[in-house]
Symmetry: C2
């Protein structure tokens, strides 16, 4: 029953097939004006009448006959003869043909006086100045903006026809539990259809989510038939890959024709498209980020082709902060964090696995690597699509290196000050290279506390650079065991785990060397574990310290005065942050060290 | 009772006063996840558990003990010993430690075989690979995006606290009638509060619109008191200028303190801000575009300061297509149409009157001229804020010149093809200069049909330029009267109106000259009117032709092959468009003329 996708269809070809196979359902619905924002007009809209409907006063003042004001001068002020008091927007009373602003008059004995004659038509808005009856207000295919609403209302339009596409979303999978249920092991919260609904609704589709369908071909068949009857596009969530329980293909093959199965896209490969009774049924992969790619690039493209407008996310030309590999023949999508450092916008990639939703949450954009490219070099200019307002980049700080969980709290403190902290994971070497290439505002480097680590691992790569080093948190590492190790048998000790960080590995190697122990971590059960003092305490283990790892913020001094970077440094040094560290059992280190290193 | 705004507060100062006076109400509300898109988090969100919760299979295949696969090679395939069939996402069963992809196996006698040994941990997603329990998912102050919804659901977050600002919107004015009512002369449809609600809801505020309050101080007072009690910000629509019926100031002065009245902004000057019981009450001008400025620049800034995120409209650096004057000391906002012509983005200004809502509807962005600037020169680089998705600029066509109403239908035809036609009004000279400076895709020029008009008014400004000229519509002009004019008294004929276009004026002058009539249009009642044949026919007047005006599309030949420009030319020449012209009694002219002019 399992099968491979023998032929992966290139994305461009898949989209062409989609267009060829499925023309727009051409559906429209009429909505009240107040509900029209974000919808796309299905018909052109024309003004119901002229605005203004009559000549009206442009300002508060006096309606006058211009002929009667002739001769008024600074040296020869004139009392108004015939006049009428008018307010802004009021219809000009007959037989007046001009308005004198109230600011240009003064009262003397109850009669307004002027110093300047009025020209015919002065300060009057003519009939139809804004719009003439019957004039086109919006063409079809226009995404209605909030301020359009006011204009449409002014022109007498109270209801309008907008494009409508009905999308049915069917979650399948016996392992799924609905949102709000705590999943057991092997169970998955059904979240992809919620996300699909949020995304497609934002584009302007009318979505309907159906109940979870277990992995039984008969039930899936029934659900697909219902959804196809009730919608213009059906999305089958999960079940589109080639596992034993992936029945989607069999079901849609029975009901209609497969258009393609498997596209050369990463993430998002196992996508299935079928034609069931002339309507598209799209099998969306279960990995959330893969599902996002399919929603954006396949479903989104179809909806755009059908006349809905995509979301107003901006595109931006930026430089890629580090090399990004990609496979020839695959369209790849990589979440990135974009920040402006010293005048240049840099995009730092996050991991792009289909299951790493946090990468997308942490990112503020994504990069599309076309199928014809085999990777993109560091420093190359690329176009990214933003998932945040472009203006927010001015308040975005990119920090590259160790993504210690305590940086979350630092992010919260910066959010208070209006800044967005983006932390991109990298090794110490990666962080230092990012500092050197100036692609980040700050780096977080984790070093063993030894005499030479700072100069060996940081300074040697950054000669002639003044750096600011701000301690964030220290971690005490050691070896832990349930029972005190027998001193005599030290030489035969087995270490049960690989240290989590390079610094802990360094400390372990140094300790083993000092103690004369010839043990390499095996990954098998052993006598001692390498862990932090906190972990040993929580697990109730006997702990022998092997040294400290310090995690520091490192900043090029020339950037430290920047508003956002200064806020970052202030937050890291703040008593609030240091109290937080102590509250969770972390060691704040010497937060008061000024830490300017000149090289 | 009327008064002036003696002191206009500069915008920057007004915003500083706003911030100083009104700190954030700090209100939050808890919403279900599905309603959180577009809202801003009020608290940081942490993962409820690790994802994955256990080690799971990354692909469909077989769970194996890596140790048992050692030795498998191309030359020495190995049958699997102990194994379990697993699907993508399933928990790895004990005691297996690796997964072999189904694609890398084949069946022989019901037993899967492999050609390559498996490494420990291969094809397994480790516990917490996506997120660890307790890890920060979103900091406070994050505007929730559609794809964030999926991640939050996956991490066990079903409800979240989002920032909430309650805005009460009170329409005032005895001339107002509610939407859906046909306004009589001097009546205005109450549209500004609808627009305010649409705009502020989009930013994330919770709006409440109150009923229309007539211009009676007692009633206004009551409405303000209610709205202040129920909201964090109150917007009083209209009544903030200095007319006789503008009671807003008196009412809020009684209830609280005026912070400022009148700011140096165009449009938007007559804005009023008061502090009533510690809450801001904002008097918004009645002119819709002025109201928009106040909503965007004042209310929007306050909401951003209070922690709501502005809408994700992009900013773009473009060149200004023509000089834009502005008054020193005033922050001015000008609606513009931005289009990319031959690789450069140009912004062409629309009229900026407070009452011209169509200008904003027609525009796709706006330009902010700071108070310190006295106008901006043509060609200068400026930053505009877009009101459309930036990607839509690639399909935007800017046409400068005569904005004949039939261009609306051309826009509809182009919308079918996915293009946005932006028509910016300009005189024939303005249109020709835009062609010369290449700031538009096309120009529409209206010329009298004489032997020399094309070369006098177009070609002389565009030497050495190959132009494509496509007829759009002709208009026959003439003089009309109720009774046949007495031939003998021709010399004393009075012309009752000024011709609407320069071309008609030219035709009239030539006719008067030919006929030896010494009459200048007076604007007073007269014997004959200048009008089109169509107007004369509709009014049942006797009509004497004086000639034709032709309105043509003019395009630089080098741009004519561009996808969008080609679609424009095709639409203008299409039988459908020409049939439309005839159906409304317009003369399509010679639409088949190829019209390439080489100079």
């Amino acid at each position: 029953m399992s099968r491979r996708y023998l032929n992966l269809t290139p994305l461009s070809e898949a989209l062409a097939m989609l267009r060829r196979e499925f023309s727009s359902p051409g559906r429209a619905e009429t909505v009240p004006l107040a509900e029209a924002v974000g919808r796309v007009t299905a018909e052109p809209l024309y003004a119901g009448y002229s605005v203004p409907m009559a000549d009206i006063a442009k300002f508060d003042g006096y309606a006058v006959k211009s002929g009667e004001t002739r001769g008024a001068q600074d040296q020869r002020p004139l009392p108004l003869a015939g006049y009428a008091r008018v307010n802004t927007g009021e219809v000009l009373p007959r037989p007046f043909d001009a308005v004198v602003m109230i600011e240009d008059t003064w009262d003397e004995g109850g009669i307004p006086r002027i110093r300047k004659s009025a020209a015919p038509g002065q300060n009057i808005r003519r009939t139809g100045e804004d719009v003439r009856a019957g004039e086109l207000v919006l063409p079809k295919g226009h995404r209605v903006r909030p301020f359009d609403i006011g204009a449409l209302a002014t022109y007498g339009i109270t209801r309008l026809a907008v494009r409508s596409v009905r999308v049915g979303i069917v979650p399948t999978g016996s392992d799924l539990v609905p949102l709000g249920t705590a999943p057991g092991p092997g169970q998955t919260i059904e979240t992809n259809t919620l996300m699909a609904e949020a995304y497609l609704t934002g584009i302007g589709a009318t979505c309907r989510r159906y109940g979870i369908v277990p992995d039984e071909p008969g039930l899936i068949r029934e659900a697909v038939e219902t959804a196809v009857a009730e919608n213009d596009l059906v999305i089958l969530s999960a079940g589109s890959s080639a596992g034993t329980r992936d029945f989607s293909r069999d079901v849609v093959e029975e009901l209609g024709e497969i258009v393609f199965h498997g596209i050369a896209v990463r993430p998002g490969k196992p996508v299935l498209l079928a034609n069931v009774g002339g309507k598209p049924v799209l099998g969306m992969p279960g990995y959330p980020v893969a599902a996002q790619t399919v929603l954006r690039e396949v479903a989104g493209s179809l909806l755009a082709w059908w006349g809905l407008e995509p979301l107003p996310f901006g595109e931006l030309d930026v430089r890629l902060a580090r090399r990004q590999a990609s496979d020839l023949g695959f369209d790849e999508f990589v979440p990135v964090s974009v920040g402006r450092v010293d005048g240049t916008c840099w995009a730092t990639p996050h991991p792009r696995g289909g299951g790493i939703q946090m990468a997308v949450v942490r990112a503020n954009g994504y990069l599309h690597i076309p199928a014809a490219r085999e990777g993109i070099e560091a420093g190359e200019e690329v176009r990214v699509r933003l998932t945040v307002p472009p203006a927010s980049l001015a308040r975005t700080l990119v920090c590259v290196g160790r993504r210690d969980p305590v940086l979350g709290e630092l992010g919260n403190l910066l959010a208070e000050a209006g800044y967005h902290l983006h932390c991109c994971n990298a090794s110490t070497v990666g962080a230092v290279l990012a500092l050197r290439a100036k692609t980040c505002h700050a780096a977080t480097v984790a070093l063993p506390e030894t005499a030479s680590a700072w100069s060996d691992q940081v300074l040697r790569y950054l000669p002639d650079t003044r750096l600011l080093r701000v301690p964030v948190a220290r971690t005490e590492f050691g070896v832990a065991s349930a029972d005190p190790p027998d001193a005599g048998s030290l030489a035969s000790l087995r270490v049960a785990n690989r240290p989590k960080s390079a610094a802990a590995q360094f400390l372990l190697d140094a300790w083993l060397d000092r103690e004369g122990i010839d043990a390499s971590p095996s990954g098998e059960p052993g006598d001692i574990r390498v862990c932090s003092a906190l972990e040993a305490r929580e697990a109730g283990l006997r702990f022998t310290s092997i040294g400290y790892e310090s995690c520091d913020l490192v900043i090029r001094e020339e950037l430290a005065a920047g508003e956002g970077v200064a806020a970052l440094v202030e937050a890291a040094r703040s008593p609030g942050f240091r109290a937080y560290l102590r509250s969770i059992g972390r060691d704040p280190g010497d937060g008061d060290a000024p830490g300017v290193f000149s090289v």
